[in-house]
Symmetry: T
């Protein structure tokens, strides 16, 4: 059965806890549960990893080669700073969809640059936690 | 009955015709038909305008005050050049979702700047014509 | 009888309606009426055009050659983007005064650049709608 | 019979009238007449449009698909600002030659950037109105 | 009786003397006299200081707290270089109108940046010495 | 009893060992001991973590929510590169004081940018290891 | 008896008066009194100068050669603009500590550059008026 | 009999040999022969120099004073790097037409800057080797 | 017996697997084996670490103090982003040689900056996996 | 008898005292004495002012109108920051020669910009205190 | 027998003479002799040219077409300034290895840009004169 | 007998001929004659080279090692473009004085950068051909 890998980068474990007026009150666990149901309804598996360790994230991406057909990733702040993350995603050759909950494009300085975006299959910003659902929907379409 | 306004900027009348390897073979008419069905299924009206005239687009946005609750807009190239379009959208105060079919974030120079994005409710790029569906879905949620 | 041309660019038809806390509650019609009275009191004609169409604005400026002795223009957002507007004003050789209602110099990014300003007879920003009156007063002085 | 499309952008209707010391005393009508004769002598049709409306220009380019084999275009100031114009020309896939009457490369700021140039078949600047003749000559060679 | 403070920065004592083809033949004394009459006609006091000493200007602004309701200031070259002047004006919290006699926005380099402008109530450039009159007129309106 | 969290980023375990002519001969252990005494004398607890792992640092900051009232942090090189660290500190909402032993503001390139500084309660650079004492003193004052 | 020179630049005479929500309600006189007590307790003299005149500040620094062993300076806005001040401090060769009451590093534009910082013994920003105490404490340590 | 000087800069001796898919298969000798015929047909002399030595090119330009009425020059890469070449052309005061075979304006970095262009009578890029013919035609018109 | 430390950063465990057309088919294990033989032939020990964890890499470098006389490092993407890595290498004071398998200097954006290079003993890019051999050869020469 | 005005800006009173290894051991008084002798030998008067007050310098320049035929000025750090000084020199219309004792062109940042240079009759940097003699010699030649 | 071309640009004839503390005491002749031996040992010919004339270097590269299979080049300062050199190397289509004796990547300004690097087969900097040996070794491998 | 080397770069052979209103009517030969007399009067030899060949200039500088004690050089346009020239001058270690006849600092773009200046003993610009005399005078002082 085909699989999708859901990845969340640094600080996203605080979803629903930190700055709810900005990121919403929904916890990461609730989001993942909802996406699991959606994936299963579409006849696919979904695996999830949230980590504050770049090393763990890189290892997980490496391990995804061959086993997953699409990645949905919210890289958090690493989306602006980690070229190693870009390299890993490009190296394993799995199409990925990038999600940002808030409108990061509205922020200046380094936050305005999205390092993962140029090689992404799609990028969605500012749709709140619903962005995950849309990215998953797009990923599921890849199997058709 | 609440309404949604769908706007398409310059050259998007060529969708499905120009550079299909880049933009897909789906015509704009087909996309609009599909979105109309979706909106009606959700109990809403959808009005559409594609125009190559900035004046016509500005006038349409002005006329939307009071009558629409959300805008879905693919500004095409004007997304990189038209501050007047930004002003009009901000002036009428209707939340809008910005759609780009291809991954414009992967292009350098002036294309890398999205003038409408900072004030948008959400931005979706590179998901192909499905980006319209996701933006519409998000817009429909505004009535809940 | 000598004449003055009053021009207003995109979105200015919303004056008094959009964002009154920012632009004031005075409508464009009220402003134009007041300026007409002032011009007539000084023994001059005043013609006015507000348009969201760059083409219409360019044509109006072209048509002003020979018939007007001064232009008062609030270019709105085109003041930051339209080099064609600059070309038209320079081509007809009529001195023009540029008005911005709010303090656009306080805004960053592309808004900080005023393309029409270098060739203008004068520029007035942030004086509210009274800026039109001052610009008209200066324009009337050209006949002395 | 194969055809060539001649396009002139904003303010070029003033040729021969505005700033003759800069742009020469030849009117646009005179130039077009001369080019018509040249095209007919080479056994081709030539159609011409000058417009101050970007919308009209985009529509004309769209309509040229299939009917024209080359475009000669003087975009005027839009050559520095209109990405929509670039998109239209690239979309219809007709080779185009860009003409600027004066040496725009000698001007600084935004005028130094030619947005249409990278995808043009050729660019000619500063040869006066003769630049049209050279561009037409090059366009005619495309049929050989 | 309410009061207005008129401030002139470095080199403006040379008005009417230095480069008259650029700044006009009117002396600073003549300007001040005219403004005094205008202020008195409106039932207000006007105090004036021209100084080439930044220290004297800062001290005068400090001393204006409580005693003046508006400031009209031509900062001369300090408008491009003195952040201390910005701090002083912001600190005393009196609304100020900035005047430049010539069109400084037409000059490149450091002259293109107006440090006082972002916090000003209004900015007027290039209207010649009449700019003072307009600024004063705007300042007088503050008492209404 | 209220608590303060002392955090040291990458390479700071080498304090007193690496480049003593630049960073001084005092070891990190000695510094921490001294600060512990100071904190206890003020009736507070002090916890310390030095780590070369960004993941460990993020986790420690997350865990500090609710348990600490102030953070003193020397982020080392991460102060110039880690937006994830900024996000974590802002997310937990604990006021933090940033310390750099040497004068990093005197260095060019990327070292001149302090990513944590804009949201910090205070920043102290170049005071040697005494900077920790000052930051702790300021942190202790928060309880008054 | 060894001495320390305390210097305050433009507008700092307004401390405790201007924008108290930003700079605190403590007056400069109160701060100086407190620092005098501290210095005397450590067996040192403290001299103070606040001035809005750059000339007076330069002269005071020149006069400090030989007579003072450390300088504590809050340069105010001159910290971003006065290279003459940098030259004077470097010329007399007395170690100096730079203090900014608020977090100037959080401000963009020219305020982000601290001209005195590269040659300073230490820089402290955002600690409120307590920053003076820390800088003085560091200066006093120089005699040990 | 009036004369025209044809100049070709570095690496242009490889025309027709190097990268024919980019520069065409026509050799420089063939181009020069064709231009000679054209010049003679117009009753003028044409002299040609291709050199990889900047010194030789400068000397040839110096020697052209008084003897030539126009220059057609393809400066190759020196068009982006040699200010000495600009100086020489300006010094001898002979109008020159600059030719680039390929569309150098489409290349980024230093290639985007054309140092000779600002002072050129005309610039033609991307017309292939036919650009020489157009430039020659323009040069011949100078005698009329 | 003197020793050399071979370090490989993130994603380099994929060598020979990811993008072989770009990085070659040789695995990292094969490279390390070959270098081990070379080092032993020269009478030295070689230790190797590949890691995707910056923390592990920093710790390994710290531990190298005193035990190794040279480092050969391929930092991968961290070579463009990790100032902490630079700090660690500089802190332990062991000369290091930087290797990049492909020509990273040919890539734009952030990849064009090599943070480790300024303090490196040597840098070799684009020689394929043979770059390790050359760097090792240079490192071995340090013992002579 | 014609006169020359010698001006020295901030900190130059420390010449011969501050950093003699950089600026030489010659005092300003000694330099002025030498220049006085030279000027008198040429039959001219020389007046001198060194000041740390920009106001005093501006006033002195204003007062020079009509009375002096040339100015020799070492603006010190104001040469990089004071546009008011530029304005004053241009306003009085007296040719001036700018002197810098050390090679300020070799310094980066703001010191690399010489604000007075564009309008100067000549600029001499890095010749030590002899630069004054050369500038005086050039100024004396103006009377011939 | 296959051949390798060794090229050295301007000032490299001074190797071993100029700044030996920077470039080493080995003369260019000694380096060439050593490389000749190495090439012959590998059964190849090596030809060498050092020149201070860009023209001579371009001609030599042109002449290498067909006769050489690899180039080893130290372009000296031309590596930062000569686009003509880049053109020549790309035109002849021979793979080339770029050598810089010192770590030019550690230098700022124009020296930080390596114009030849993007199209090079490999680049080696900072390995001293041994860099030539490594580049030659890599070039010899091309025949395998 | 000690010697001075006078060097003139590209196009300076045209002095007195090209643009006399800009560079004066004095020929290079006349300048050199005058400087020869001056040098001999001071008991020194003077040798002169003007060349349009960078190679010849580099060779002449190389040959100057040991035989000359100072260089006076007007590099012309190479002063803005030739790093090889900088390298040669630094390599031979002879102090050099740079002369520019006109005020090149008043020109923008690449002309504003003086590549030779940072390592020069002195730089003199805008003093006309007298700048050579001053530079020679300074050079002669080196023997004292």
């Amino acid at each position: 059965m085909a699989s999708i890998l859901l990845l969340n980068g640094p600080n996203l474990n605080l979803l629903g806890i930190r700055e709810p007026e900005l990121y919403g009150a929904e916890t990461l666990a609730a989001i993942v549960d909802r996406l699991l149901v959606r994936a299963q309804a579409a006849g696919r598996e979904l695996e999830h990893l949230q980590t504050n360790s770049e090393a763990e994230l890189l290892d997980r991406i490496h391990g995804a080669r061959g086993g997953f057909e699409a990645i949905v990733i919210n890289p958090g702040a690493w989306g602006h700073t980690s070229l190693a993350l870009v390299d890993a995603l490009v190296a394993v050759g799995i199409p990925y969809f990038e999600v940002h909950i808030t409108n990061v494009l509205a922020r200046g300085g380094r936050r305005a640059e999205l390092l993962l975006a140029p090689a992404a299959a799609g990028v969605i910003v500012g749709f709140g936690t619903r962005g995950y659902d849309f990215a998953l929907a797009a990923a599921l379409k890849l199997f058709d």
